[in-house]
């Protein structure tokens, strides 16, 4: 059993993971940092982000305004100390990225350009044409190559955290190439593995977003916080779920129903003057309501609304939204210069995640989390577009600094202890490889997807959520009888799919159980039976704690309020 | 079946951690798809080699004396030599056209403060210079100029 030793182990190589690795090296070049990812860093899902990253940049903007927009966008569930820190650091982080080569789009005078985005009172979203995630990820990855202390373990799947005497001591990972299990000691561990959109059938997320880090922390006893808040991005392509960025609306696109009506303007959906630039939860609800009222357009992949960009002109579209045009033509056969793009709400982001404080620290000493996997909580009940990429940078860096500090105070773990973790995992994974059960991975996955779509959609009800909870509990049981045909050692992707399915089932259950318990509507969590926000009883975070094979236990955590007092959320 | 690529193609310097199957060249290589044009392009090197040898032969004869020169001139009107020169002309035109097509995009975006001219201008310049020089050479060699 090979045991490798590093000071810091970072799980996940996306924006948060890479920023954390770089921050650790900047703080102390003597630290040895392991960056463990199940894919090569350029494949991390950060790459697919399109719209932009928010940070105060203009004279007519202020940290105060960005803070308030975020608090209000979160439907007052965001922790205000976290938000305060976030808006202060945002412009600095984006500036750092510019210094590292990120090709931000520019104004004529050479300064960084900003665009309007949903829920933001003024333009503060820095952008790189409409490929911001791609450019940010490649900039971070290429910049990380300057730091030889960052040792990358690519295509290594972390299957378990090594928790000894109540503290995080490292990770156990399956080397996908060689099929062997290794233990990587970390005096501190940072989870940066992203969200879990693949629990749902219709999602913008790529294949790799299976909630692995959330499951790892959950299985180690850390609470998952606010899991019920799943963001439905208003504009995904029907069928594939491919993201059409909010920037399309930021640049002036209009949403229309089957009568060609700009329903966000003509009807009251709570977005007021902001119309198409209202917050995502409200726009998604509006589209679903239009469809339920019979004003949606019918298509082979379900009903949809129209995103009309035709009035923007060929020039503007080709210059500022080239990828939107490419995606639309390639995946749905529509040229946005000529015709409106069919769109419908699609699962995009998890506001909830591993419960952390403002430093990214979890309830287990030595275990940190940052980015989409974490819930600090910056985004509360609903995230504003373009806050997430900045979140990864700000909290990736902060978590790394604190983790690095923490790691100085720890001692080495005896090799025998670490080896034991590895051997236990190896036995478990060997049993999984070539397992002769009766349940097909793809079948269980489809059933989980169907349960989540029915129970945890944009609109939820007691009955639909309860059914979802029991369906998921049953699926977790059936998971024990899984069938894994691939017995091979080298690059066995079926065993990976099996582990990912197990992770998703756990995370999905926490979403459904948390959703059932929250008897109000707030942000992205909307219930037909409790349609109003209830600050008296529910102005708190939901904590979901694993209880072995049984149903999880729920608890509450208070929201850190500050200068912004909860008020009615109207735009 | 596609040809084998170099056994070390795209191999990392550290040996691969598991046994790998050797790299193969793309199936269309060398005589199908766009590779045909590429192989022809590089194969014209043979033509230049032969043309160079012919030129050497002619110059040698020029240096030897008037009978040798007359002999070489007679040989050069043999149909095989004529065919060779026609092939050489075709090769040169093929290479020039293919190279000219590439040339505009090989320009750096800026040379100091100056920007290179747009592609059509560059192409006009290249073809103009080529045809112009050719005509000039024909004029000189046929005795029309400096008669």
């Amino acid at each position: 059993m090979e045991v490798l030793r590093h000071d810091l182990v970072i799980v996940g190589g996306g924006a948060a993971g890479l920023r954390a690795a770089i921050a650790a090296c900047e703080l102390d070049p003597r630290l040895s940092v392991a960056l463990v990812s199940k894919v090569y860093p350029m494949r991390s899902h950060t790459v697919s982000a399109e719209g932009g990253a928010a940070g105060v940049a203009r004279e007519d903007d202020s940290l105060e305004m960005h803070g308030f927009d975020t608090v209000k966008g979160s439907d007052f569930l965001g922790d205000q100390d976290v938000i305060q820190y976030f808006v202060e650091e945002a412009p600095k982080e984006l500036t750092r990225l510019e210094h590292w080569g990120c090709p931000w789009s520019r104004n004529e005078d050479g300064s960084v350009a900003t665009r309007a985005f949903g829920g933001m009172t003024t333009k503060r979203t820095w952008y790189a044409t409409d490929k911001v995630g791609f450019h940010m990820l490649h900039t971070l990855f290429q910049h990380s190559l300057r730091h030889p202390q960052i040792v990358r373990y690519d295509e290594q799947f972390v299957t378990r955290l090594a928790i000894e005497n109540g503290a995080a001591r490292g990770v156990v990972s399956l080397d996908m190439r060689e099929g062997v299990v290794r233990v990587i000691q970390g005096r501190a561990v940072i989870l940066a593995t992203g969200g879990a959109g693949k629990c749902f059938p219709f999602t913008t997320n790529g294949n790799i977003k299976t909630g692995d880090g959330m499951a790892l922390a959950y299985q180690a006893g850390v609470a998952l916080k606010d899991m019920e808040f799943v963001q439905y991005h208003p504009t995904g392509l029907p069928g594939t779920g491919i993201l059409i960025t909010e920037a399309a609306r930021g640049e002036g696109g209009h949403l229309k129903n089957k009568d060609g009506e700009r329903f966000l303007v003509t009807r009251d959906y709570g977005v007021g003057q902001k119309a198409e630039l209202g917050p995502r939860d409200m726009i998604s609800r509006a589209i679903i309501q239009e469809i339920e009222a019979g004003r949606g357009l019918a298509g082979p992949d379900g009903e949809y609304a129209n995103l009309d960009l035709t009035h923007l002109g060929a020039d503007a579209i080709q210059k500022r939204l080239p990828m939107v045009r490419e995606l639309s033509m390639l995946y749905i056969g529509v040229d946005p210069i000529q015709a409106p793009i069919p769109v419908r709400p699609v699962v995009h982001y998890m506001m909830g995640g591993v419960d952390t404080d403002i430093d990214g620290a979890t309830s287990i000493p030595g275990l940190y989390a940052a980015g989409e996997v974490a819930c600090a909580s910056l985004n509360g009940a609903n995230r504003l577009g373009s806050n997430s990429l900045t979140e990864c940078l700000v909290f990736g860096a902060r978590a790394a600094r604190h983790a690095a500090q923490y790691s100085k105070g720890t001692s080495d773990v005896p090799e025998a202890t670490l080896r034991r973790f590895g051997e236990e995992e190896r036995a478990r994974l060997d049993a999984l490889r070539g397992k002769r059960g009766g349940e097909r991975i793809s079948a269980l996955r489809r059933e989980m997807n169907a349960a989540m779509e029915a129970g945890c959609g944009v609109y939820r009800s007691e009955e639909s959520m309860a059914q979802c909870v029991s369906a998921l509990a049953a699926l977790r049981g059936r998971f024990a009888d899984l069938r894994v045909d691939d017995k091979s050692r080298v690059f066995n992707t079926e065993i990976l799919a099996a582990i990912e399915l197990g992770n998703m089932l756990e995370v999905a259950e926490s979403v459904a159980v948390s959703a059932l318990a929250r008897r109000e509507s707030r942000g992205a969590h909307t219930r037909r039976d409790f349609p109003v926000r209830d600050d008296l009883n529910f102005l708190h975070h939901t904590l979901c704690l694993r209880q072995g094979a049984g149903a999880p236990r729920l608890d509450k955590k208070s929201v850190t309020l500050g200068k912004w007092i909860p008020e009615e959320r109207k735009y | 079946m596609a040809r084998d690529a170099h056994p070390q193609a795209m191999q990392p310097h550290e040996p691969g951690r598991t046994r790998t199957a050797p790299p193969k060249m793309p199936a269309q290589f060398p005589f199908a798809g766009n590779y045909r044009s590429y192989i022809l392009f590089d194969a014209t090197g043979l033509v230049y080699l032969l043309a160079g040898l012919v030129a050497l032969r002619v110059v040698w004869a020029l240096g030897t004396g008037p009978e040798a020169w007359a002999r070489v001139q007679a040989q050069l009107s043999h149909p095989l030599y004529v065919l060779f020169h026609l092939v050489a002309l075709a090769a040169v035109c093929f290479v020039a056209v293919r190279f000219f097509r590439l040339f505009p995009k090989a320009q750096p975006p800026r040379i100091g403060p100056a920007k290179p001219p747009p592609a059509p201008v560059i192409l006009a310049g290249l073809y103009g210079a080529w045809i112009g020089l050719t005509l000039l050479l024909v004029a000189i060699l046929s005795g029309g100029l400096f008669g």
Partner: protein
């Protein structure tokens, strides 16, 4: 017209523990009209043969994972529609790469080449965060932007005949990336990179096949980058000859 058409996919398989050499396996796949090749491969894995290994993630042509040779041509399988395919389709791992397993190729060689060109901003003096961002005009951004669009899908390496024959050649994507930094107005490291371009793995090995640009799914045009890099490397060399210590 039927929405579903069954095609035969002949897929290359290879398990180093079991197979002496790669072999073929055929699958009948009922292809929906709007599928891409990747959807068909996923169907094989999910429904027909769980032992098939392949890489994929974003399915929207931006992560670069799913490159394979389809009917002999390096292709981004999440981008290629199935209705452009014949009734019998061959799917193989990317050409010019050692094969790890089934449709999965060795990527470490590429990662080495990428690192070699120093793909990051090099400056004599780093700018402080307090000083704000560099000024860069939209024209300056346009100069290198095209070459920054590479998603590292490696189709260009799979198509390049020089990569196939010269193991040390840096290759299209790496050179394009290095050139992108050379052109970036914020970078001051062109001299260093040009030395790398003239060294082992030299850009001058490129012999104008242009196949890299033909297969590139993001229109990066690496052939343009390589040939611009040749010019840049020569000018740089000449400058150093004339001004060994001066000049940028």
């Amino acid at each position: 017209m039927s929405e579903v058409k069954t095609r035969k996919f002949v897929v290359q398989r290879f398990d180093p523990d079991v197979d002496q050499a790669p072999r073929e396996q055929s699958y009948e796949v009922p292809c929906q009209r709007n599928w891409k090749v990747l959807d068909a491969i996923n169907f094989i894995k999910d429904e027909l043969d769980g032992t098939l290994s392949h890489r994929w993630s974003c399915r929207m042509a931006v992560c670069g994972s799913c490159g394979m040779n389809v009917d002999g041509v390096p292709t981004l399988t999440c981008k290629k529609p199935v209705d452009e395919l014949p009734d019998v389709v061959t799917v193989e791992p990317l050409s010019n790469f050692p094969v790890v397993r089934d449709l999965v190729v060795e990527l470490e060689g590429f990662m080495e080449k990428l690192t070699k060109v120093k793909p990051f901003i090099l400056r004599a003096k780093e700018r402080a965060v307090e000083e704000g961002t560099h000024r860069q005009s939209p024209e300056e951004l346009e100069e290198f932007k095209q070459f920054s669009l590479c998603i590292n899908c490696m189709l260009c390496y799979a198509a390049c005949p020089v990569v196939a024959n010269e193991p040390e050649f840096l290759g299209p994507a790496a050179i394009a990336l290095g050139h992108r930094y050379n052109l970036d107005s914020r970078d001051e490291g062109a001299a260093e990179r040009n030395e790398i371009f003239r060294g082992e793995g030299t850009v001058f090995s490129c012999s104008y096949a242009n196949e890299c640009s033909e297969v590139c799914p993001k229109h990066v045009d690496p052939a343009a980058a390589i040939n611009q890099a040749k010019f840049g490397a020569v000018i740089d060399w000449a400058k150093h000859l004339v001004l060994p210590r001066g000049g940028k």
